[in-house]
């Protein structure tokens, strides 16, 4: 074969091989690394296997936030059903009652164990809120 043709062949084969490998990797990845999103009603209705990490979205129920040391517990509601959530750590700034939230974690034994909390930043105007208690000093 002409050197030129041989080079072309090699190039083509390399590209084909890389593309096939690439596409396979991408598709495999996509399918295994999806985070499914549920509202409380959807999650309670579906049969979630406890090993699966999912996203739960809804509103933080008014008056449901309880703190115990570094642990936070609250209820997530979609106004039809509600789910208890527990989280260890400092939640993000925008996390508060009566506000939208998405939680990444696992649903085990009736309790949702949150790994991460994402609070929704709305362009919609939110009302004034009073909450800091400058008790100390």
């Amino acid at each position: 074969m002409l050197q030129v043709r041989k080079n072309r062949l090699w190039k083509l084969l390399t590209i084909l091989f890389l593309s096939a490998g690439g596409i396979a990797l991408i598709l495999l990845s996509l399918n295994s690394k999806l985070d499914l999103f549920y509202t409380p009603s959807e999650m309670l209705q579906a049969d979630i296997k406890s090993g699966y990490r999912i996203k739960l979205g809804g509103m933080v129920k008014n008056g449901s936030i309880e703190r115990d040391g570094t642990n936070v517990r609250f209820l997530v509601t979609d106004f039809i059903k509600e789910v208890p959530v527990t989280f260890d750590g400092v939640p993000p700034d925008l996390f508060k009652e009566d506000s939208g939230v998405v939680i990444l974690g696992y649903f085990l034994d009736g309790m949702f164990e949150a790994e991460e909390i994402f609070a929704k930043h709305d362009e919609n105007y939110m009302p004034p809120e009073l909450s800091i208690d400058p008790a100390v000093t």
């Binding site: 690439g22 750590g89 000093t137």
Partner: protein, 632 residues
């Protein structure tokens, strides 16, 4: 009054631009007026100036607290410092769109006037730029009017911007990003003009090279600023979340990087022209796509703008039309473009060619990650999300391949194959050193993650390659392209730092009362919550915690705060960060519990400084490249 004038000026700009288009379109194939081009240029320049003055007036309206303008009332406040009154203009959709258009206009007027009137591509480029600016101006005025009034009585006081947006880095991030995005309208328009023109003897690379390089710098700085802001402001210690909005900024950047490299081969060796032209069109198309995704509300993201399908449809149609227009001309000319020159395997050009494929693959992967949730949702209504696990898995092998290419190709020759012997000697030392380092890292840290180690290895390959070359240059006077060396070293450093950060960083959640002290771990031997105070600042109240740490034998004081902003009553945390060479100690204060104690989140983030430094290296490297060319 000023609001009306400002609005009128923008409308006039629309009129003038339409005139330019109509005037030329009717008489396109024959010259009716002897000074057709000069006249068109005059109209165009005037239109651009009208846009600038209109925006200038709008800035005045914002500074002077004109709350009869709905947008200014919704996003600014009389208590804001002047700097933030100005930056509030681009804090949401309508205003930021206005800024986008101003930058589009600025790039266009500078570029088109830099072309000689005899330049065969000037007219077509002028028409394309006019069309694009016109399209966006119409979009602004018809669907996203920043001049909308509140009648009959304006608001007494503005609503205040989100306190999270009252930050210098976040204020500058959109302008930098937009300057980058829209800068590539030049390569888009000029290349399309070239293709339409059909004379392929013409040289086009030099005319747009420096413009594109500068735009790349802005895009890089814009993305880095956004990442830096996210790191210190959001309180999570994270700097990249593979959020759709971040991804749509990354795709044009990858395309732009590929474009620059391909442009290099194209102007040096006359090969890869087709690739380069395609990439030159792709960058701006991806920028348009990004604007669409962010502003149409189609993707629910932590930082997408408000939902409005009307805007989405307009943006989609307009972006689609001009992209299709450019690509159709490209496709039409494809057969004629075929270069008679061949790319020799193992030559520098061949690596640049493979780099293009690599970049396209990366862009495609991100694109798929962004659209896959939409595809799934439209098929079976299921809501899914694609996050870091997917992107980390995809990018690990991609950056390894990139690192190998970089390592091999730096010594590659133009138009000739590199002898295998030379290849061996170029690569054996970096590979050995990298493997040794990996082993050392594993031995020291005892942490293992395959994806992270691939990343560390990739970074090291690049770093050692360039280290050897720098040594070679210093001692053997072997030639080294300084700009390229610095930029690529930056890239290697980025891979290294990001991967090390991912395996070494950790977090501790604490709960203490003021006056209490605890020992956290071997590194943070003592954590003392000394005091908590309440303070007042210009538009917010502050709760300030005073914490001192004994870390690795060194005394550090940290001062995390919680702020409550007067107008919206919104509460934000300001994290306190202590940086040193190796790591950041990052402290966020949580909430007060009933017993008076407070929760804290202590994060130790490794190699963060190196990430920002790597971005600066890339920018410096690029600056050197631009100015070196100018000198010679």
């Amino acid at each position: 009054m000023i609001g009306e004038i400002s609005h009128f000026l923008s409308l006039s700009a629309v009129l003038l631009l339409s005139l330019v288009l109509v005037f030329n379109l009717f008489f396109f194939f024959s010259k009716i007026h002897p000074n057709q081009l000069t006249l068109s240029m005059r109209l165009f320049n005037q239109a651009c100036w009208l846009v600038f003055i209109s925006f200038g007036m709008y800035v005045y309206l914002a500074i002077s607290d004109d709350f009869s303008i709905a947008y200014i009332a919704s996003h600014s406040n009389s208590q804001l410092p002047i700097f933030y009154k100005i930056t509030s203009i681009w804090s949401a959709h309508e205003g930021s769109m206005f800024l986008w258009i101003v930058f589009l206009t600025a790039w266009s007027i500078l570029f088109i006037n830099s072309l000689d009137n005899n330049h065969p591509l000037k007219k077509f480029t002028l028409l394309m730029l006019s069309l694009i600016i016109l399209g966006f101006l119409l979009f602004l005025l018809l669907t996203s009017n920043p001049f909308e009034r509140i009648l009959p009585f304006g608001a007494l006081e503005g609503a205040d911007i989100n306190p999270v947006l009252q930050d210098p880095a976040l204020a500058i991030h959109p302008p930098m990003l937009y300057l980058g995005y829209v800068g590539f309208v030049i390569s888009f328009s000029f290349i399309t003009a070239y293709l339409f023109n059909g004379n392929f003897e013409l040289k086009w690379e030099q005319d747009i090279k420096n413009w594109s390089l500068v735009a790349w710098i802005f895009l890089t700085i814009g993305i880095a600023l956004g990442s830096w802001w996210a790191y210190y402001e959001l309180g999570w210690g994270g700097y990249w979340f593979w959020d759709p909005v971040e991804n749509v900024a990354l795709m044009p950047w990858l395309a732009a990087t590929a474009f620059m490299h391909s442009l290099f081969a194209s102007s040096k060796s006359n090969v890869l022209k087709t690739w380069t032209m395609f990439l030159g069109i792709l960058i701006f198309a991806l920028s348009l796509f990004g604007a669409f995704i962010v502003r149409s509300g189609i993707i629910d993201s932590v930082h997408s703008f408000a939902n409005d399908p009307e805007r989405g449809l307009y943006l989609l149609s307009f972006s689609g039309l001009i992209t299709l227009f450019a690509l159709t001309i490209f496709a039409y000319r494809l057969p004629a473009l075929n270069s008679s020159k061949l790319v020799v395997t193992g030559s520098k050009e061949s690596f640049l060619s493979m780099n293009n494929i690599l970049m396209i693959t990366s862009i495609f992967s991100i694109f798929l990650g962004v659209t896959y949730p939409l595809i799934i949702e439209s098929i079976n209504g299921e809501k899914v999300s694609i996050g870091p696990p997917y992107y980390n898995t995809i990018f690990a092998p991609l950056i390894l391949i990139a690192a190998i290419f970089i390592m091999i190709s730096v010594d590659a020759l133009w138009q000739r194959s590199m002898p295998l012997r030379a290849l061996f000697f170029t690569t054996v030392t970096p590979i050995m050193l990298s493997l040794a380092s990996i082993y050392l890292i594993w031995w020291i840290t005892s942490v293992f993650s395959i994806l992270a180690y691939v990343g560390i290895f990739s970074g090291l390959l690049i770093l050692f390659s360039y280290l050897l070359r720098i040594i070679n240059n210093l001692f053997n006077k072997k030639f080294i392209n300084k700009g390229s060396a610095i930029a690529h070293t930056g890239l290697g450093l980025l891979f290294f730092a990001v991967s090390m950060n991912s395996i070494l960083s950790y977090e501790k959640n604490l709960n203490l009362a003021p006056g209490q002290s605890i020992s956290v771990d071997k590194s943070v031997q003592e954590f003392s919550f000394n005091n908590i105070r309440v303070l007042k600042a210009s538009n917010h109240d502050v709760i300030s915690a005073e914490v001192s740490l004994l870390q690795d034998g060194q005394e550090i004081s940290l001062n995390p705060q919680k702020r409550k902003y007067a107008t919206r009553g919104q509460i934000t945390s300001e994290s306190s960060i202590h940086t040193n060479f190796l790591k950041d100690t990052y402290l966020t204060i949580g909430d007060q519990l009933e017993n008076g104690s407070w929760t804290f989140s202590l994060k130790i983030n490794y190699f963060i400084k190196w990430i920002w430094f790597s971005a600066s290296l890339m920018v410096v490297g690029m600056l050197l490249t631009i100015f070196k060319k100018k000198a010679s």
